[in-house]
Subunit: 99 residues, 2 copies
């Protein structure tokens, strides 16, 4: 069972995540861990989504994501805890690793 | 190059599409051909998206779609013609065929 992260834990996890996030940082938007990814093509965008889909299923934690052509807008939240948990940061880290 | 469909053509194409759409019809929402698909699981939802992604690339026409867990919200529009074209109905038909 996931645990709801406190403000200070979120700030620390967000800093760690953004160390590997490159030019475009993750932000907390309406309580959700959010980032828009841009790829070179639809094939690259959807190929990345396919890798992340398998990780999501493996982690038993799934993203909210919107895709149009080469763009993927991601929002992560843990509904079970009504906030953010370690799972959101784990999935975000996978997203950065495989982009 | 796609051609912009007229109102009457859209109405006819929409009727034809909804003949195969089952219980949940496609609608035109804010000028876009729209439907929310529900699947039994994330694996089924994303598996379907993967099939459609390949069709989209083949048709050179890509959806706007939002996924969370077993739900996929689809919006189709042809930006080149600032409206709907035959391509939107072709892609929607693939979506119904493979769901």
């Amino acid at each position: 069972m996931a645990t709801r992260l406190e403000e200070a834990e979120i700030a620390k996890s967000l800093d760690d995540l953004n160390e590997i996030a490159g030019d475009t940082p993750w932000i907390i938007k309406e309580g959700k861990l959010s980032k828009t990814f841009k790829f070179k093509s639809f094939i690259r965008a959807f190929g990345w989504m396919s890798q992340i889909a398998i990780w999501a299923e493996k982690l038993k934690h799934h993203p909210e994501w919107f895709n149009v052509y080469n763009t993927v807008e991601v929002q992560l939240v843990t509904h079970d805890v009504n906030g953010l948990s370690e799972l959101d940061f784990q999935l975000a880290t996978k997203m950065e690793t495989f982009k």
